[in-house]
């Protein structure tokens, strides 16, 4: 078990390092000068040279990589050329909105998707199961941006019952939540469908297991067999998927944040791309990747914790 954790930790660190190297070198995949692109054609050579040195572009690539990692390890992403504010501050103000959005969506998906899946699995091949199947597949195929646009169109533009723009006032909780509802729903739709399908399949598989038959043969009531014996087994693989889910939700958040003009990581990166502000893009992408990696690691650990079999297998293996 400890060995497994260590191995997992070491690969995670390697992946993080490699990601940083990749991002540090990404500037070089295009010909031309990143500083010049950033500052535009009318910038003075002196300004360009200054920015170049600030971005360490005047040093050899290997040194650039080293400096990039070094600075990050010291908590510094550099300063934004235009506003002069530290990039970490920009990220610090954007990140909470994205995290709250992603978690609300995940919460919605779990609250709706898992019961739907359990219901389908306990009524296999009934009409309701088939209708739910069609709905879940349709939900999966609704991309967050289409869902977002439709919700915006219906509830904010046509019915005017929901706010269309911004994150609201963080100190005013009801207002903040009101601004959160549409984006969170838009982002959650796909995952509601996906979790419903996943839980259904995994439940059906578990319900076919010998230990379920054995539990029924021992006279344990069906209700208890389904909701205690089967569900716990069926949810274990779901937990592992939730880690991936959180990452995908952070990615999907880009669309939703742009559609609802929310000041989050997505908008930050997107706007930085529009203005070719490469340092911000790089820092933002790295932060999102780190969160994704962390979410996957946590899900894996939770999975190991929940399934008593794994501990032993890893110990032996």
């Amino acid at each position: 078990m400890r060995r497994y954790l260590l191995k997992r930790l070491v690969t995670t660190i390697l992946v993080l390092l490699l990601s940083m190297v990749f991002l540090a070198l990404l500037v070089h995949i295009v010909p031309g000068d990143a500083a010049r692109t950033l500052l535009g054609p009318r910038a003075t050579p002196e300004l360009i040279a200054k920015v170049r040195s600030e971005m360490d572009l005047d040093k050899p690539p290997m040194v650039q990589v080293g400096l990039f990692i070094w600075k990050i390890l010291h908590g510094s992403f550099g300063t934004d050329v235009f506003t002069g504010r530290p990039i970490s501050m920009l990220i610090g103000s954007a990140l909470p909105h994205t995290i709250i959005l992603a978690f609300s969506s995940l919460g919605l998906a779990v609250l709706l998707g898992i019961p739907l899946g359990v219901f389908s699995a306990t009524h296999p091949d009934s009409w309701l199961d088939r209708i739910l199947a069609l709905f879940s597949i349709s939900f999966i195929t609704i991309p967050s941006y289409v869902g977002g646009l439709f919700l915006l169109l219906i509830f904010a533009v046509q019915l005017r019952v929901m706010p269309a723009i911004g994150v609201g006032d963080p100190s005013n909780i009801p207002d903040y939540i009101k601004h959160l509802i549409l984006p969170a729903v838009a982002l959650a739709i796909t995952w509601v469908g996906y979790l419903a399908r996943l839980v259904r399949a995994s439940m059906l598989e578990v319900l076919n297991e010998n230990y379920i038959r054995a539990a029924l043969a021992a006279g344990i009531p069906l209700r208890k067999v389904v909701y205690k014996y089967a569900l716990k087994n069926a949810l274990i693989p779901t937990v592992a998927v939730l880690g991936v889910g959180l990452g995908n939700l952070m990615g999907g958040a880009v669309f939703v944040e742009i559609i609802f003009s929310r000041a989050g990581m997505g908008t930050l990166i997107y706007n930085a791309i529009q203005s070719r502000n490469y340092p911000i893009v790089r820092a933002g992408v790295l932060v999102v990747a780190c969160l994704f990696i962390a979410a996957n690691l946590l899900a894996d650990l939770a999975y190991t914790y929940l399934d008593p079999r794994i501990q032993l297998d890893k110990m032996q293996g």
Binding site: Y229, R309, L312
Partner: protein, 687 residues
């Protein structure tokens, strides 16, 4: 006294996509109080369906379409699910085939045992229930039950898990225990333990048992009465002694004859021609008629009714007394029909050329010592699968490697073929030391040493037709084939298959056919040595008999040398010349088959022999029964001294200190690795 269970006219149907199948029809039987009744039959005969029907746990597409299941006079078919639930686990309990998957992996044993009790005693005091659970675990032989009840299922071995299943089943002292092949996933010595346990519990608690199995030997050993099923019908039922001594139905007779055993060495096994019909494609009259040697026109057209003869019930149009002469069809397997030389019984090879020799052969599997583990200074552990084996196999000889799981027999076979890398020692093939040859140099040699694998279907490449599978050896070794079609036909004929099988894909073959294709492929390049891993595993008795006959015939036709790896002692008795008994990676006894069976010289062999399930109930009280305690230790850290000493009934202090060497006892050919071989007294058949 009224029977505990009385099944009358039971019919069970399955609704499938294409229509409705009848899985069981017109089934009548009773189980009396304290009686052990066996239902025996080949796969697909409906025996497990009967068990599920009694529990009312048929899959959703299965229905009981006619008949009654009277349990203490109540018809279970008429009960509501809630009434039925109250009977399950309280009055009728069930244990299942696969102990590894029958316990819920994510709950502790304690929770599962408490839930099982609370289902019937919701108000009961937890402490009381827990005490009862612990007592029951102790009763079924779980050591340290009070502590181990806190463990999860995966922390127990297969045998222990089956014991736990039995403990759960017996928690509420049910009137009837249904056991669905509870030992078929277990090793023989563990099987013997479980059978002993079931019998003991019956004697102690008076529980009636309905025991479902495919194994005639187990039935003979355990049951009071027997029901033989075939294609959804009861074909014969009666007292265990009369069924085995004078079977009345042609199917029962054929089945008993096809069971391999030591006493049939000189003969061929009688196979049953054809195969068990699919439920989709049942004949209109007697279901056995197409395979029956006595079938008449009536049999093919009209379903027979039950006859009672000497207390035995049979489903047959007319009772045939055992004919004086066998009808010609009974000497089967058309083209390989040869007289088997009596010489086969005591063939001796001591003088002939040695084909394979191993010297001090060791195969260890080291834990993957990754970079990380090394950095952490972790010592890599090893599984000592093969731990110092010296063997010689002579030309034309059949050597059997016997042992239970974890004995290293398969690894030894694979190492000899260099499919595993030997850790130490030597492998000498026809005088050449191939131990350290690179694979490129081994490859040409593979044409002459072949292997047939345990799982017949999955050992054939799934996307290739049988014909390409059979030509594969020629292509690999760049042997030109003039007429591929004829070569394929010849190979198929050699193993008793018709040429139309050439166009089939592996998944379209039956288990027996796939096994034959595997043998044909192995023989394509005319090898000298054939290593066969569990050649009859997973096959029904009648099909397995055909395979064993074939192996025997081919051995003589092609002068083949066999190494047969198996846990099935009946198979060995039938086919092997010499036997190497393995325990924890070492050979503990090496002897010609006859003396090994009649006078084993190692306590482990003795225990194995006594655990063989022989299909003859008259032996069960006469045989001396040695039930080994405990289970095989892990090959990671085998016990010091003699590896068998912790389970050995004769062990002394010396055994735990000094490992015995394999040395000759009474004469040259019989070797045993035991300090006290003279203490071993019993053979397989003798009291």
């Amino acid at each position: 006294m009224d029977p505990v269970l009385d099944v009358r006219g039971l019919e069970i149907k399955y609704h499938v996509r294409e229509g409705t199948l009848t899985a069981v029809r017109n089934l009548n039987f009773t189980v009396g109080a304290g009686e052990i009744v066996g239902i025996v039959g080949e796969s697909g005969c409906g025996k497990s369906t009967v068990a599920s029907a009694i529990m009312r746990l048929l899959p959703p597409n299965g229905v009981i379409s006619a008949g009654q299941i009277l349990f203490k006079g109540r018809d279970l078919c008429r009960l509501s699910q809630e009434e039925m639930r109250d009977i399950r686990g309280k009055d009728i309990s069930m244990i299942f085939q696969d102990p590894l998957t029958s316990l819920n992996p994510v709950f502790r044993i304690k929770d599962q045992m408490l839930d099982a009790q609370r289902a019937h005693h919701p108000q009961a005091d937890t402490k009381e229930l827990l005490e009862r659970a612990v007592r029951m675990l102790e009763r079924v032989g779980i050591p340290d039950a009070a502590d181990r009840i806190e463990d999860y299922p995966h922390q127990f071995s297969g045998g222990m898990r089956q014991r736990i299943m039995i403990a759960i089943a017996l928690l509420s002292n049910p009137a009837l225990l249904i056991a669905d092949e509870p030992t078929s996933a277990l090793d023989v010595t563990l099987e013997a333990q479980i059978l002993e346990l079931i019998r003991g519990l019956r004697d102690e608690l008076g529980t009636s048992v309905l025991y479902i199995t495919h194994d005639l030997g187990v039935v003979a050993q355990l049951c009071d009465r027997v029901i033989v099923m075939y294609a959804g019908n009861l074909v014969e039922a009666g007292d265990v002694y009369s069924i085995f001594q004078s079977p009345k139905h042609p199917y029962t007779r054929a089945l008993l004859r096809s069971h391999p055993s030591h006493s049939l060495r000189a003969e061929r096994l009688r196979t049953i021609r054809g195969r068990v019909p699919s439920l989709r494609d049942l004949p209109p009259g007697c279901k056995f008629a197409p395979r029956c040697d006595y079938a008449t026109q009536t049999c093919h057209l009209v379903e027979p009714g039950y006859l009672t003869i000497d207390g035995q019930v049979i489903l047959c149009h007319s009772y045939h007394p055992e004919p004086a002469a066998e009808p010609a069809e009974l000497i089967p397997d058309s083209h390989t029909r040869r007289a088997v030389a009596q010489a086969a019984v005591d063939r001796s090879f001591a003088g002939s050329e040695v084909v394979v020799e191993t010297r001090g052969l060791r195969t260890y599997f080291y834990d993957t010592a990754g970079l990380l583990a090394q950095l952490l200074g972790r010592q890599a552990g090893a599984v000592r699968a093969v731990d110092g084996v010296d063997l010689r196999v002579h030309r034309g000889e059949t050597l059997a490697l016997v042992g239970e799981s974890g004995s290293g027999k398969t690894t030894l076979g694979r190492t000899i073929l260099r499919l595993e890398r030997p850790t130490d020692g030597q492998i000498i093939v026809e005088g050449q030391d191939i131990t350290h040859w690179p694979q490129s140099k081994i490859r040409p040699l593979r044409a002459r040493m072949q292997m047939i694998f345990q799982d017949p279907i999955s050992s054939l490449s799934p996307r290739m037709k049988v014909s390409s599978i059979l030509l594969e050896p020629f292509r690999i070794h760049h042997v030109p084939v003039e007429d591929p079609e004829r070569t394929v036909d010849e190979l198929l004929e050699m193993v008793g298959l018709s040429s139309e099988q050439a166009d089939k894909y592996p998944h379209q073959l039956s288990g027996g056919q796939a096994r034959r294709v595997g043998i044909a492929r192995a023989l394509a390049l005319r090898p000298d040595l054939l290593v066969a891993d569990e050649p009859t595993a997973g096959l029904d008795v009648s099909v397995a008999a055909g395979i064993l006959n074939l192996l025997k015939d081919l051995r003589e036709q092609l002068n083949l040398t066999y190494i047969i790896i198996t846990h099935n002692l009946n198979v060995i008795g039938f086919i092997a010349d010499r036997v190497a008994v393995m325990y924890l990676g070492r050979v503990v006894e090496l002897a010609p088959t006859e003396p090994l069976f009649t006078a084993p010289k190692h306590p482990y062999t003795e225990a194995l022999m006594s655990a063989i399930a022989i299909p003859d109930p008259s032996l069960r009280d006469k045989r001396r029964r040695i039930i080994l305690q405990g289970e095989i230790p892990s090959p990671r850290n085998p016990p010091a001294g003699c590896a068998f000493h912790p389970r050995c009934p004769y062990a002394e202090k010396r055994c735990s200190e000094e490992a015995p060497l394999l040395r000759p006892v009474n004469g040259g050919e019989h070797l045993s690795a035991c300090h006290f071989p003279e203490r071993v007294r019993g053979g397989a058949m003798f009291a």
